[in-house]
């Protein structure tokens, strides 16, 4: 697995049996709180009339976009797109503004409303299991999938595999690999037997959304004022906030000491 240039997933909806092993594996591997999840397996319900029925299942997962909208929306640079694929999030930088949630066309980043704005680590999303993929293991969700509905590998290789599968079974799949070009390409690729809208996936242009928005943004006030001024203002705000947050944490730490006396 060391030769992977661009880490990616391939999800084949025809193989998924909605068993949710991936959800459990992800939760345990990443120690996700009991009220949270980073993967959503949606049994989209049975369609049709008895006895002519159909059932589809979709594993929603961070798409690890080539041009991540979460990243371009983030005012403090908490998101990073690694050259080898993963889109990662740094909780230490996050200020909890939730712009990324609005920006993501797939609704992936989730805000921890229980923790509020003070305790840090506000946003939760898939990390691509760096502790596993950089140690020769597959991501937790992929490794455990009993039917190989989830696969992991090099993006080019997976795209090739997906097209081969479509070619080998004409009629079984929609002739399209979702994520190959959507939003400028994603590292979570999807094969389906039903139209992708039916899996709850947005119809997206090949041009990344943020490429347009960044162009527009370039023509707005910050551009006129100069980025320097804006960033100064933002970093001042962040510093103020950090101070408040640390102060609060210090207060909390002080409390038990008082009561123990």
């Amino acid at each position: 697995m060391t030769d992977i240039k661009h880490h990616a997933y391939l999800f084949d909806a025809t193989r998924c049996i909605d068993c949710r092993a991936c959800m459990v594996a992800c939760s345990v591997e990443n120690n996700i709180p009991m009220n949270k999840t980073r993967i959503w397996v949606a049994g989209l319900g049975v369609t049709g009339e008895f006895p002519n029925l159909q059932r589809s299942t979709m594993v929603y997962h961070c798409m690890h976009c080539a041009h991540p909208d979460c990243m371009s929306a983030c005012p403090v640079g908490a998101y990073t797109k690694a050259e080898d694929g993963p889109v990662t999030y740094n909780p230490d930088k996050c200020i909890g503004c939730r712009y990324c949630m609005n920006a993501c066309p797939f609704g992936v980043p989730h805000f921890d409303y229980d923790k509020g704005l003070i305790d840090g680590a506000f946003i939760d999303k898939c990390t691509f299991c760096p502790q596993r993929i950089y140690n020769g293991q597959e991501p937790a969700c992929v490794q455990t999938c009993p039917t190989d509905a989830l696969e992991y590998g090099d993006r080019d290789e997976l795209i090739k595999r997906a097209h081969e599968r479509i070619a080998a079974h004409p009629g079984r799949y929609i002739d399209h690999v979702y994520g190959e070009f959507e939003n400028g390409g994603t590292s979570y690729l999807i094969l389906s037997h039903v139209p992708f809208e039916q899996l709850g996936l947005p119809t997206l242009p090949e041009t990344p959304i943020n490429e347009v928005s960044e162009k527009v943004m370039a023509m707005t006030i910050p551009f006129a004022l100069g980025w320097g001024a804006v960033l100064t203002a933002v970093s001042a705000g962040v510093a103020l906030y950090e101070k408040k947050k640390n102060g609060k944490a210090a207060e909390e730490k002080a409390e038990p000491a008082e009561t123990s006396k």
Binding site: R20, V28, E29, F50, L53, T144, P146, D148, A149
Partner: protein
């Protein structure tokens, strides 16, 4: 949580047992210490340990990641044939069984009334003394047969059975009659083998009769089936419900419940009357080639259409497709086949279809009937012969059910005999890792049987319903905390070993049975010092050290010589025609028996399986609880509308023996004449803080019906009415 009286309070009561220091010599092995010694964990208690899953009976190989002496992740062992690197949702959740906040971590002795949940903590010495003295009292007063023993499929079962045989009781209850009696009895009578294994490498046509493989997950086999479908193999799936397997099938046939055998007999009719069978194979290996054509003449597709509701043309076409695939066709034997009193005939028809396709023992065939002797090649501790048992079995095996194999038994009949006291009264019940209150049909009757008992002791890791109604609860170490005997699979003996230290006072079954055996005066039957010594004795003939097995996860076993094709039946051939059945007064041929059907206004109550739970034992696992759907009663959406019911309405479900309340799921995914209840819920025990109050109990509704040939319980033969609650 269980109400307990603290040790201090108990001492005040003035009846203290011996302290913890007086524990028997058999201390639990220190997992971390042992794992460090064999190089699996580093000095800080971090590393990876090989072991075996116990979240169902498939027994996948696992690799546990341990950090600071705590298991933090389980992965499937890529080298194990049952897991191949994967674990299902239950396997992935396994560590939450170990870290369940509801674990019972000390022996408990009942204080209040049974079912009240008032227990006090006790030392192992005291608890074991109480259990042993009660068992001995019952033995002296009423004979050993007055003690009932029951346990469900597990790796330590061999030592549980050792305890019961040494004690001298013939009364042994297992889950088998609630599960696969029909399948095993039919395959034993037809092929002389309990359960043939399936091969999917070259399969082209798969017929599954209610085997919901995509929800009743057997990790490797579920994967093999998925890949076969992916490759283009045809799956024809019979089920009244549109399960997740149905959604993956090439063809789903929502057959009328109880009529599977009519469908299959008509398939056989088409195959034999058109001479589509593999004749060379059939003549060489099958008893019944001569008469089968005449015998099956009456079972035409047109006849079956009237019974099953499946068009005759469909049956004819499927039969021809099945036959055309020859030995690459597979009629899956199924697993839980306890559906109707005629389920044995369904299984006989399946066995026959496989014989006709020539897939059995044909090189490359999809069904393998080779006899794999479990545990052969492994050593065993020495022990004296068992005492002779002359008492009748309460479950009626031999004297009432002549064809039910001794080891399968008829658990529901055993329970009924406890209530009637016929042919004699049982007085005590020793239960290990089993939950008969939830698993047996007609829960009220099981509670009634408990009421007849002078003494009940249960071994478990949590307060399941059966433990809740027991007098003594003995806390077992979880499967990640203990050793069990080695498990031979495909030429290797796999280990289950402690991945972490047992919590609290929890101990392995091997330890508990030995301690109890010694107190019962049966120490000669338990000649092993501790769990490691037991496994060393098993390994002795293989000349492999325990340390090596601990590290590798398995020991290689010598290859067994493969002889000629023989079947372990009286004739040595496949007995589609069975003289044994005839002698016992049953039809020697696979035959049609009409099962009862619901009256106007009633529904078939179907039970089944969800991928996130195993029977009645995993609902308290917080991870599985988190990822399971809410339990519901499925009803066909149109029928629900006709009855003025809406999705989500609370409904009252009433059978002949019970009543439950549950929200409705109005769905197209079920036949109009059926309802389906998510199984395994409705726990009574308040010691299960996650599962208590969730869902409804299917066993509260199930009526007890026993198939006279296989002894299987007919779990789909319960009919219910449903109205708005």
């Amino acid at each position: 949580m269980t109400q307990t009286i603290s040790r201090r309070d108990f001492l005040k009561l003035g009846a203290a047992g011996a302290g913890a220091l007086a524990l028997g010599s058999m201390l639990p092995p220190r997992a971390a210490q042992a794992a460090r010694a064999s190089g699996q964990l580093d000095a800080g208690g971090n590393g990876y340990v090989h072991s075996t899953c116990e979240m169902c009976v498939w027994r996948c190989g696992l690799i546990a990641k341990v950090v600071d002496g705590r298991v933090v992740k389980l992965d499937g062992n890529p080298e194990h044939p049952h897991s191949r690197g994967k674990l299902c949702p239950r396997g992935q959740s396994g560590l939450m069984n170990t870290y369940d906040p509801d674990r019972v971590l000390t022996p408990l002795v009942r204080m209040g009334k049974r079912g009240e949940g008032l227990f006090r903590k006790a030392s192992w010495d005291e608890a074991l003394d109480i259990v042993a003295s009660n068992m001995l009292k019952i033995k002296e007063k009423y004979g050993p047969e007055a003690m009932v023993f029951s346990s469900t499929h597990n790796l330590s079962q061999v030592q549980f059975e050792n305890l019961l045989y040494a004690f001298g009781s013939p009364n042994y209850g297992t889950q088998r009659s609630l599960c696969f009696n029909a399948m095993i009895t039919a395959f034993l009578l037809t092929y002389g083998i309990e359960e043939p294994s399936r091969k999917y490498d070259d399969v082209e046509f798969i017929l599954m009769v209610g085997r919901n493989m995509m929800e009743a997950i057997s990790t490797s086999e579920t994967g093999e089936l998925a890949h076969a479908i992916d490759r283009g193999a045809k799956l024809v799936y019979l089920d009244p419900r549109y399960t997740k397997t149905a959604s993956k099938a090439t063809e789903w046939i929502p057959i009328r419940p109880g009529t599977d055998s009519a469908f299959l007999l008509a398939m056989i009719n088409v195959i034999v009357s058109n001479e589509l069978a593999d004749c060379d194979f059939v003549k060489q290996y099958v008893i019944g080639c001569d008469g089968i054509q005449a015998e099956m003449r009456k079972y035409t597709p047109a006849w079956a259409e009237k019974i099953t509701g499946v068009p005759a043309a469909t049956i004819e076409r499927i039969a021809r497709e099945y036959a055309a695939a020859k030995h690459n066709a597979l009629a899956h034997p199924g697993w839980r086949t306890s559906n109707f009193v005629n389920s044995f005939q369904t299984e006989r028809a399946i066995a026959t279809l496989n014989a006709l396709s020539g897939n059995v023992l044909t090189p490359g065939g999809c069904l393998s009937a080779e006899v794999a002797a479990e545990g052969a090649g492994l050593g065993m501790p020495k022990q004296p012969p068992y005492p002779r048992v002359s008492a009748l079995r309460l479950d009626g095996v031999s004297w009432k059910y002549p064809l039910v194999p001794l080891k399968l038994g008829v658990f529901q009949e055993l329970r009924d005999a406890i209530i009637t006291g016929e042919p004699y009264q049982a007085h005590g019940w020793f239960i290990s890792r089993q939950n008969p209150i939830q698993s047996l049909p007609d829960r009220n009757k099981t509670l009634q049987a408990f009421g007849k008992m002078d003494f009940i002791a249960t071994v478990d890791i949590i307060m399941n319903d059966t433990a809740w109604f027991s007098d003594v609860v003995l806390p077992e170490a979880s499967y990640l905390e203990r050793y069990d005997p080695l498990l031979p699979v495909d030429g290797k003996a796999y280990i289950r070993q402690p991945v972490v230290e047992p919590q609290g006072e929890a101990r392995s079954a091997l330890w508990i049975y030995k301690q109890l055996g010694e107190r019962l005066g049966l120490g000669d039957y338990f000649q092993y010092e501790d769990e490691e010594d037991y496994i060393r004795q098993q390994l002795k003939p293989l000349r492999v050290s325990l340390e090596e097995v601990k590290e590798k996860g398995y020991a290689e076993m010598p290859e067994e010589p493969k002889g000629e094709i023989t079947f372990n039946t009286p004739s040595g051939k496949i007995e589609v025609y069975s003289e044994t059945l005839k002698k016992a007064g049953f039809s020697p041929w696979p035959t049609w028996e009409e099962p009862p059907a619901p009256k106007e206004g009633e529904f078939y109550l179907l039970t089944g399986k969800v991928a996130q739970q195993t029977q009645f034992g995993t609902q308290n696992n917080q991870l599985l609880h988190k990822y399971s759907d809410e339990p519901r009663l499925w009803m066909n959406a149109k029928v629900a509308a006709q009855n003025g019911l809406q999705d989500g309405d609370w409904v009252e479900v009433v059978s002949e023996v019970g009543k439950v309340y549950i929200p409705l799921l109005a769905t197209e995914a079920i036949r109009p004449d059926c309802v389906y209840l998510t199984p395994g819920y409705g726990h009574l025990s308040k010691g299960l803080t996650t599962a208590h109050g969730v869902g409804a109990s299917d066993s509260a509704l199930h009526v007890t019906y026993t198939d006279p040939i296989s002894g299987g319980q007919a779990l789909s033969q319960t009919f219910v009415t449903v109205k708005k609650a």
